[in-house]
């Protein structure tokens, strides 16, 4: 077995092990800040052990700049090397030789997945060997296991086994079960948005790294901001249009949301929770173009939706009323005009006419008023109607609240080309659009 040991040099939570899942499914965390990974079956994916080690260190140093790492045959010597040499790869079957040159103090780190019962006991063992005039680990080779067991019991036997690399320490596969949450407590209440964003970004970055390890995307982020001077809590929810792990997008969404929050009552605690969803596993065709435009648009739609701006593609609809005859859709959908249907029944056939098919070819203005504006009698007198008869008569379902509209083209005194309708129920003219 080849073992990677990462020494974070910091007390951490168990969940940090999820960050290293891309390097091996067999990852284990050990207090206070050690990560052990069985890389026997995954080294070839990275090319060689050196590449794997440098990539793992890069991930570790993103949050723990002092992190060190080593690769050895068994976990205990790997831990020793990570403590004494910052980055080391011990070639297979050579760990015992490399251990020999280390000082006796290295025994304190010879733990691996299972810690020493008491470090005091190991310190006593080291002192004992010092008294005998021994200085390096290699000098302990002359002792048999039984001699060490006789003097220090099971600890002595374990020590001998670890020195000879024959202690069985198995790294089990890591099944991520911890929730994706983080908690920030400020020593002082925070009113400054940039500072708050900076702190939240740090947490989100860590959660994003865990998501990457778990091969999951963000479906929703829920942030609770607890105020200092009351029990008030601002709840901010971020939901990207499509699940992703894009931190920049999440930060933009958050910034937009937080600009609406009043920080007169400053923030003391922040709770972040991510609701994940499985990563899309997409097999890309070799000839298929990688469509980055789609990702950019998804990002834009998410961003604008958070700011209450509807964004999307125009999709015409088969609806009689012009103002309801299209919609904005996040995904582009092809529009095909309705056509008459022909039903054949034996020797006979029946044509089912589509009543809205002519609407798609009817003249429509380029700009439509969101709400038709009533035209006053004086305005109407100044307008020049281009026909005495209506160009088009629109009437929606008679069983609903049908109003009936007669549409006309007209020119305003300023020469604007207008689209007007006469409401037959109200007997009033309304301006509905401009041929701009």
């Amino acid at each position: 077995m080849r073992t990677l040991c990462l020494n974070l040099h910091k007390t951490e939570k168990h969940s940090v092990a999820e960050n290293f899942l891309p390097f091996s499914p067999r990852v284990q965390f050990r207090d206070p800040g050690f990560i052990f990974a069985d890389i026997s079956g995954t080294t070839h994916l990275f090319g060689n052990e050196a590449t794997l080690l440098s990539e793992a260190l890069q991930v570790a140093r993103e949050f723990y700049p002092e992190a060190t790492a080593a690769i050895a045959d068994t976990p205990a010597p790997a831990q020793v090397f990570s403590a004494f040499h910052h980055t080391t790869i011990v070639p297979p079957t050579q760990e015992r030789d490399d251990l020999r040159n280390l000082p006796l103090e290295a025994l304190l780190h010879l733990e691996g997945l299972i810690t020493w019962h008491s470090s005091r006991e190991i310190e006593d063992i080291i002192s004992f060997f010092h008294v005998l005039g021994m200085k390096t680990v290699g000098e302990l080779d002359r002792f048999q296991m039984e001699s060490l067991r006789e003097r220090w019991g099971d600890t002595g036997a374990t020590l001998w086994k670890r020195l000879h690399g024959i202690e069985k320490q198995v790294i089990s596969p890591l099944l991520p079960s911890e929730s994706l949450t983080d908690y920030i407590y400020f020593d002082f209440p925070v009113m400054l948005l940039p500072f708050l964003l900076h702190c939240v970004e740090k947490s989100l970055r860590q959660l994003q790294r865990r998501l990457q390890g778990r091969a999951e995307f963000v479906r929703k982020v829920q942030i609770h901001l607890y105020c200092e001077y009351s029990s008030k809590c601002h709840v901010v929810e971020l939901m990207p249009a499509t699940p992703s792990r894009d931190l920049d997008l999440l930060m933009k969404l958050l910034e937009n949301k937080l600009t609406e929050v009043d920080f007169d009552n400053p923030i003391r605690e922040v709770e972040i929770e991510i609701l994940p969803c499985p990563e899309r596993v997409q097999q890309l065709d070799f000839w298929e173009t990688r469509n980055r435009d789609r990702d950019k648009l998804d990002q834009l739609v998410s961003l604008f939706n958070q700011a209450s701006l509807t964004t999307g593609f125009l999709r015409p609809r088969h609806d009689i009323l012009p103002e309801e005859s299209w919609e904005l859709t996040a995904e582009f959908e092809e529009f095909s005009p309705q056509e008459d249907a022909v039903e054949v029944d034996g020797q006979s056939f029946r044509v089912k006419p589509s009543y809205s098919q002519h609407l798609v070819h009817a003249p429509r203005p380029t700009r439509l008023l969101k709400k038709p504006r009533r035209v006053s009698a004086s305005e109407l007198r100044q307008m020049h109607f281009l026909s005495s008869h209506p160009i088009e008569r629109l009437e929606d379902s008679w069983w609903e609240d049908s109003r009936g509209r007669d549409y006309y083209f007209a020119l305003s005194p300023q020469g604007q080309c207008l689209w007007l309708f006469f409401d037959r129920l109200e007997n009033e003219y309304y301006l509905h659009g401009y041929f701009d």
Partner: protein, 215 residues
């Protein structure tokens, strides 16, 4: 005498490259403008009451762009929206046109424009300003963004007294009978062009009065 020492600093005429433009389809206008169309990497302003053809000019530009599989975006104004039917009949590729609903205020409008530009996806962006007045600083910021992303941003205003910032590369004023080019870089302005009615083809009444409606 001076030619040789200055040789390395002089630029040959063929090396001078003007900024790219997006052809509007209005040949007289395209020929007049240095960019042979709406300038890319710059902000243009269309002034004119609705019904005088500003949207059509933007739409013609967007139509040819989308048919070439390039992206265009439109930001609606507070009172009016872009009606798709006319463009559908002209076979605009709606798969390449993104429409944004009207932002509530000036700040949000500027933010939306900055985000659209930052995406570096759209070759042409149109925006109905409504009653919004942009300051010189706002236009300058937008100009810097458009230059970086090489997009053509067209702002439209129905307000005849809208602020004509000196940072606009091109200002077109639409009226009933003519199109007045109030500003166009490296061109003698103001310059007027005749305007014909775009809708004369499908409104028979306008066809009959085509002469009367156009200059």
């Amino acid at each position: 005498m001076l030619k040789e020492p200055l040789q390395n600093f002089l630029v040959r005429p063929e090396e001078i490259k003007t900024r790219q433009g997006l052809p509007t389809g209005y040949s007289e206008l395209d020929q007049f403008l240095l960019w042979q169309g709406l300038p890319k990497g710059a902000v243009s302003l269309f002034v004119g009451q609705p019904g005088h053809g500003a949207t059509s000019l933007w739409g013609q530009t967007a139509l040819s762009l989308t048919q070439q599989e390039k992206w265009a975006a439109w930001v609606n104004g507070p009172a009016q929206t872009l009606c798709p039917w006319d463009w559908w009949q002209k076979k605009m590729n709606f798969a390449k046109l993104v429409v944004v609903s009207a932002p509530d205020n000036r700040r949000k409008l500027l933010w939306a424009l900055h985000e659209l530009l930052a995406l570096s996806l759209f070759d042409l962006i149109g925006c109905d300003l409504g009653d919004t007045q942009l300051s010189d600083v706002d236009v300058l910021k937008l100009t810097r963004h458009t230059r970086r992303m090489q997009s053509a941003l067209v702002l439209m205003s129905a307000n005849p007294f809208v602020r004509r910032s000196s940072f606009y590369s091109c200002i077109l004023n639409f009226s009933q009978r003519q199109l007045k080019i109030e500003r166009a870089q490296h061109r003698l302005t103001p310059h007027t062009l005749p305007r014909s009615n775009n809708y004369a083809d499908f409104v028979p009444q306008l066809t009959q009065n085509r002469k009367a409606l156009s200059c």
